[in-house]
Amino acid sequence: MAEEITRELTMSRAMVEAIAGEMRADDEVFYMGEDVADYGGIFDSTEGLREEFGYDRVMDVPISETAYLGAAVGAAQEGMRPIAELMFVDFFGVAMDQIYNQMAKNTYMSGGNVSVPMVLTAAVGGTYNDAAQHSQTLYGTFAHMPGMKVVVPSTAYEAKGLMHNAIRDDDPVVYLFHKRLMGIGWLPAPDGPKTPVPETDYTIPFGSADVKHAGEDVTIVTLGLHVHRALEAAESLAEDGIGAEVIDLRSLVPLDTDTIVESVEKTGTLVVVDEDYRSYGVTGEIVASVADEAVGALDSVERVALPDVPIPYARSLENEVVADAGDIEAAVRRTQ
């Protein structure tokens, strides 16, 4: 008999609860980032941690991403379990060398003799008109380079379980949380990410996609914010008798191809939705992965992603490029 859970948390509270739990259990876990101590994280990713754990374990750092992300690599290689936060994922460019050439590669280059048990957290996503340098998700950028596990929670339940697993994992994990889902007062979340969350510790294994809505006619594969937009589309499609199965990837690396293929073999139709650029990215990769394993099952395919333009500022322009439920619904209807 499964335990019934009724306590609901926002995604940020669930993420912080997991970090706090791991910090209580292990003195070697610490958090580094810009404005993570007194401010509690611009997107509430560390709210309350400094009060419990102090400045040594919840460290504000200089605006110096190369130094502190690289320092996290160094501390992790010493066996500590640092969590280092990029305030916006868009800032990765100033520290790309440490991420791509050290964090991601040192285990392989050492023949498995060195481990880098760190978590890189970063806020991702748009929908609030922050324009081209503060709105990206860059899912594909991180998933492309071998050596990083990449996870993306869509709800409070996922946020906690994925974070517990991320901190405990002996490999580097990139944990990308969508700003719009965090439940911040000044950035209201849609219905959906605030979920019941068990008070006990639990882990969500990487590479286990979750079927968030069952359906027989079309498979919608997505992640992050667009899980909720796809669920909204699925409700609308159901009114017309179209059964959409919505799969929340939860992790990009490793990718749970089995769950996707199983669904596509049932529906014959694949619609991939994400908030990253269309070309050379997540949507293309998912379609190719399904084609590799079950090309015969694919009757119809649609991709819904950012067109290949930087994310524009004005509301009408951003809304044009970031898919909403209506765009997803339209893509599904094109396949029917």
Partner: protein
């Protein structure tokens, strides 16, 4: 005064490193002649040899323990030898063999020996932030271990270095940054890229002690490093050292050095820190026969490592797919518990 045993240990490290580079040069060029072909021969890839840098390796590492972390750049062998990296497995790695430090996946710019806390990497100044992180770990754990980041003089304009100086300074980390100044960043002489003759002055902007060792002299390096490492070990914060060394070979093997005046090359060849240390040892009572024995032992050790390495198996091609993860995704054995999430979307 440096104890005779320490002078002798440094001398052994330095003659080992020099002979190692000379022998690697021979092995490397074998098969890459007459017209230089970098993709041919028994040692794959690029090779950056450190002949002329030995004093910087031995003089600093003489103060270090196995648990003190060192990050070195693309020219790492002399530091690795002074730090006590396993010579046979390092050599096997350079030859691209299965029993190498990285199973043939890293190569000579990416050597990792966790047993003695050594790593090197191929991108300029890239090792500085991880060294700061090792210092941060030591501080958090309240141990007295220290970290040392080596870099070339061509790296002192790189952001990773400057950011690391600030990070180490503001957190009072036990880190020593060591600039090996060999005057040349491939073909670029220092004066054309930096308005600073003494790179250790970079420390001034970070309120950190900086000191330049102006002569290629192991004892002078030893003295400067004793103070810097001691300061770090006593939890008094970071130091920046710059050490004048000499590049006796090209930037990489195959470098024609057509940009380098012959007089500069000749000068580098003359000012030899190994001969200088031999003089110090003689002054301390070591006779020529003992010096010859030390050299012979070093040469035998190098020969043994090279012979062993060349005898090691080449990696099975299928191994290219291994070692991506310490915890492979298929090995995630925990499963999601079964909760009844009332109100959830399931």
């Amino acid at each position: 005064m440096v104890a005779l045993t320490e002078l002798t240990e440094m001398y052994a490290d330095m003659v080992t490193a020099r002979h190692y580079e000379e022998r690697l040069q021979e092995e490397y060029l074998e098969g890459k002649q007459p017209a230089f072909d970098i993709s041919a021969g028994p040692i794959p890839g690029e090779l950056h040899l450190a002949a002329g840098h030995e004093a910087a390796g031995a003089g600093v590492c003489q103060h270090l323990r196995d648990d003190d972390t060192v990050t070195a750049p693309h020219r790492p062998h002399h530091v690795a030898i002074a730090k006590g990296v396993d010579l046979k497995r390092m050599t096997a790695e350079i030859f691209g063999r299965e029993t190498g430090l990285g199973k043939g996946k890293g190569g000579h710019m990416h050597l990792f020996d966790p047993d003695v806390s050594f790593a090197c990497s191929g991108i300029i100044a890239e090792g500085c932030p991880p060294a700061a992180g090792a210092g941060l770990a030591a501080k958090k754990r309240n141990t007295d271990s220290v970290a040392v980041a080596y870099l070339g003089e061509g790296a002192i304009d790189q952001g990773a270095f400057l950011e690391s100086l600030n990070f180490a300074a503001v957190h009072d980390l036990p880190v020593v940054f060591v600039i090996e100044d060999n005057d040349w960043a491939i073909s670029m002489p220092k004066e054309r890229v930096t308005d600073l003759e003494d790179g250790s002055k970079r420390a001034d902007g970070f309120d950190m002690p900086g000191r330049r060792v102006d002569v290629d002299d192991a004892v002078a390096v030893y003295d400067a490093a004793r103070e810097a490492v001691g300061r770090a070990r006593d939890q008094n914060g970071p130091t920046l050292l710059e050490i004048q060394v000499h590049r006796r070979m090209g930037h990489f093997m195959g470098d024609p050095e057509s940009y380098r005046p012959e007089a500069d090359q000749a000068a580098a060849a003359q000012r030899d820190s190994i001969e200088r240390l031999a003089d110090d040892l003689r002054a301390a009572g070591t006779d020529d026969a003992e010096l010859e024995d030390l050299r012979a032992e070093a040469e035998a050790r190098v020969e043994e490592a090279i012979e062993w390495a060349k005898d090691q198996p080449k990696p099975d091609p299928a191994a290219a797919h291994e070692d991506m993860w310490v915890n492979p995704p298929s090995g995630v054995t925990d499963s999601e518990p079964d909760f009844d999430l009332a109100g959830g979307e399931d």
